[in-house]
């Protein structure tokens, strides 16, 4: 299986930048850093199936990052408002959501983002569904996850041929 050069290049760049940040630009750290960066790139490529997986689109990621930050702050304010009220206004429960996003990194990202969203945490990711715990069953949980799923799906490039025809709406 051939590895796309771009998949190698951006990993080398990313891990190199990480090493640079961690070691504060110390020149003497590179005799250890360079082999580490190469090793990390190799391991990551092994885990990512030799760069054959769908890549994140960095520009779209930048565009929707403010949305995640804003939702995260709203989520924290929501918790704060509930726990500080003497009556403790919560009505928790489990909600099941059928996933349309294909398996892989997108699903894991979705699960982690659900945890940041106001009122929901992801409790189980299995088969083609996700079980979400909500602080308030009165919230439009399903609609909010659908919206989030669409945004996360847009982060990834088009589906490879083998993943199409999964019954996407």
């Amino acid at each position: 299986m051939s590895v796309p050069p771009a998949a190698v290049a951006w990993r080398l760049g990313l891990f190199g930048a990480l090493w640079f940040i961690l070691c504060g630009g110390e020149l003497g750290s590179w005799p250890f850093g360079l082999p580490t960066v190469v090793l990390a790139t190799w391991v990551d490529l092994q885990l990512a199936g030799n760069g054959q997986t769908r890549a994140l689109r960095p520009l779209i990621l930048m565009r929707i990052l403010p949305f995640f930050f804003w939702k995260s702050i709203l989520g924290a304010l929501d918790v704060m408002a509930r726990v500080l009220k003497p009556r403790l206004p919560i009505d928790p429960g489990l909600v099941e959501f059928p996933l349309t996003i294909p398996p892989g990194g997108g699903r894991i990202l979705l699960a982690n983002c659900i945890t940041l969203l106001p009122g929901t945490i992801s409790a189980r990711l299995a088969d083609d569904r996700i079980i979400v715990h909500t602080l308030d069953k009165g919230l439009p949980v399903v609609a909010k996850i659908q919206d989030l799923e669409g945004r996360i799906a847009s982060l990834y490039g088009p589906c490879p041929a083998k993943e199409t025809g999964r019954g996407l709406p």
Partner: protein, 107 residues
């Protein structure tokens, strides 16, 4: 307050304001841990409130930082804590479901 040789430095003050904004988030996370009724609802308080609290503290420290490398390191810490806390929240909730721990419900 930091009153160095140059007097009161603007970035120190602005940074401190952000750090102080972060404190109520940590506090409400802890109040949630104490007041909420079960493992699932407590996870809500800990993950959401503490992440944002840490975000404001990091932002405040980044404003006070003296080099860009320091800023990059601070945001790297924030990112790693964010991913680790969302992931461990999911794993704790998943483990609780596997043990058939029933979520607390109203009535």
């Amino acid at each position: 307050m930091y009153v160095g040789q140059g007097g009161l430095i603007m970035t120190e003050v602005v940074g401190m304001v952000f750090i102080i904004i972060g404190i109520p988030f940590f506090l409400s996370g802890t109040i949630g841990l104490l007041r909420l009724p079960d493992i699932y609802t407590r996870l809500h308080a800990l993950t959401k409130a503490d992440n944002v609290g840490l975000g404001f503290v990091i932002l405040g420290l980044a404003i006070q930082a003296t080099s860009w490398l320091e800023v990059a390191k601070l945001f790297l810490i924030w990112f790693l804590v964010l991913v680790a806390s969302a992931t461990s929240c999911h794993l704790v909730a998943d483990a609780a479901l596997r043990r058939n721990i029933k979520p607390w419900t109203k009535e």
